[in-house]
Symmetry: C2
Subunit: 358 residues, 2 copies
């Protein structure tokens, strides 16, 4: 019997009163203090207008008095709803995901939900693990990133009828479960833009596509758009690595150490692009006269560099907001229909232009 333990503890406690207080403040005590039943207190909290005014007041008084705070676990156990949503992101300190996190949190908070956050580190196994944990915690819904998950993931969710959305991806096939930009299309657009300017020799600096279907889709976008024009990226004009500015510099340097050089370099994300642009400056290359550099995703510094960088704007916050709304609606049985494809807008700045005339 737990109480026995408490009693023992109390014997050695220096502040028994506090221990007592902690243990004893529950609906029961509030009810006793207000001279009503626990049912009435519960109703006064969750369904106030079904309780007479004076009782409501007396109860409110007792609650203040005793400093009672409802117990979420008990409530969740009883109602089978935790008012909790879990999000599992591949990384947390990346701008994209951080902005989405903020939006999600804010949206959930307004709707009376709490955000549980975890990180998969781009590992499907870990993602599955985190999702399992969330299921155990009794989350009412889940926010994931990408469409490619561990094979056991979907079955797990489907079996328990757990609502979830895949973010930062969009494809028509799975409309309804995903919300984000169409990564492939975005890079087709970008590539077309460059090709239409006259570029023929393309370079690509990408982040690793390992366990990252968004990055893969973007790469495919470049390839497919080029193929339609009978073009392709030469092997020596392709480089892959981490997504840091330092890496962007290094890889860009490598690409420039070829002959012929590419006249347009497409970077897989914002940091790589910033690195490439800064390295180009350090090498004394003029943008866009000598070559064009473009990125994916827009971060503030890109528009403030000596040469502002052409890129694709991904509405991360909006993605998060919509994901949260859709999920909450689904959990509560209302169906909220929002546009699930987030348009990834091309932002043309000074780092891109026609290729140099030979």
């Amino acid at each position: 019997m737990p109480r026995a333990r408490t009693t023992q503890t109390r014997a050695t406690e220096t502040v028994p009163a506090v221990a007592d207080l902690r243990r004893s403040v529950g609906l029961r005590e509030v009810a006793r203090a207000a001279g009503v039943s626990t049912a009435t207190v519960s109703r006064a909290i969750n369904n106030p207008d079904v309780v007479s005014a004076d009782l409501r007041e007396r109860i409110a008084g007792a609650v203040k008095e005793l400093g009672w705070v409802p117990d979420g676990a008990a409530r969740a156990l009883s109602t089978r709803r935790s008012h909790t949503i879990g999000a599992v992101f591949p990384a947390l300190s990346v701008g994209d995901f951080a902005h989405a996190t903020h939006a999600i949190q804010s949206e959930l908070s307004q709707a009376g939900y709490t955000l549980l956050l975890a990180c998969s580190e781009y590992e499907p196994e870990l993602e599955l693990h985190q999702v399992r944990k969330f299921v155990e915690r009794g989350v009412d819904g889940l926010i994931l990133v990408g469409q490619a998950h561990h094979p056991e993931l979907e079955p797990l969710l489907v079996q328990r009828a757990m609502p979830f959305v895949n973010t930062f991806v969009y494809d028509r096939e799975t409309h309804g479960t995903c919300i984000g930009p169409d990564n492939h299309k975005a890079l087709v657009t970008m590539t077309d833009y460059l090709a239409d300017l006259g570029h023929v020799r393309f370079g690509v600096i990408a982040q690793s596509t390992r366990n990252n279907d968004r990055a893969s889709a973007r790469l495919e976008g470049v390839r497919d758009a080029l193929a339609l024009r009978g073009l392709a990226v030469r092997p020596q004009h392709f480089a892959m690595g981490e997504w840091t500015i330092a890496e962007g510099r290094a890889l860009f340097r490598k690409l420039m150490d070829t002959d012929p050089r590419p006249t347009a370099v497409v970077c897989g994300n914002a940091h790589l692009a910033v690195g490439a642009v800064l390295e180009a400056a350090a090498m004394g290359l003029r943008l866009p006269e000598d070559l064009s550099i473009v990125g994916y995703d827009d971060i503030e510094v890109m528009s403030h560099l000596p040469v502002p960088v052409t890129t694709v704007r991904v509405p991360s916050a909006e993605i998060g907001r919509i994901a949260a709304r859709v999920l909450v609606a689904r959990v509560e049985g209302k169906d909220y229909s929002a546009p699930l494809e987030a348009v990834a807008e091309l932002v043309i700045r000074a780092s891109s232009g026609p290729p140099p005339t030979p």
Copy 2:
């Protein structure tokens, strides 16, 4: 009786089997399937080595079979521990807090805890609200930012004996409850460094100090260090605003529109510093020959700009990691003593040097 409702629902459900499954898979069913009592199943899960090998196996089989997942709410209700930690940050998409979040999440996950995340938007009222929510959710501990909170906050936590830590601040007075850099000291150090180089006319570009004791402390640091040398910042050399690159540029321009100009500009954070440095470049000013610019907090781009920026490195990830460890230890009764003051190291780069010789 809840079951009555379920029954009603089942009548209209299209997939009654699933609904049934969902409802019925509990410890009880596992126990029945394995031919043991619920107590034994519970033990097999939480204290395996106290259960005989064959029962353990049979139980494991039944668990797999039925796809049982423990119910966190029930467990929490029974044990009075949620294995959950709440963090309330003033902002989520800022590098600092995002890095800390990542570290915290990772650390908690390893220790078997889950992170609940909320945002106070630099509003004490909202912070209190979020903390209340977390208390209701039954978190085992809390991670906050700064020392200045809503007056009702601490009483609330103390009354319920809720463990918590204040991060990104350190002061000797409250050793044990705070973990982070000494903001005041960091800027004293920075200011001394500049003054020792010979600077006398200081400019300051700061983010708003409203509800931000860290930013205030840093400002005080500059003031106090200067005062010790009989110096002060002229009003026209002081500017305050948002913490964006754009704002940094604008405010820097404003500071330069004075006569005499400051010879050293101290920026309150990384983004303001980046903005100031980029604007200086745009204005054709040479760093550090014409003037020095320094920041606070180190973000990757600072070391890659044409003129790398002198700044203070704040070990955000480590702060998060230690906060998580300290809290978990406290929750579990073990006491973990780590160094709670995070050293904020001065990183000297090319943007600072002696003042121009007149």
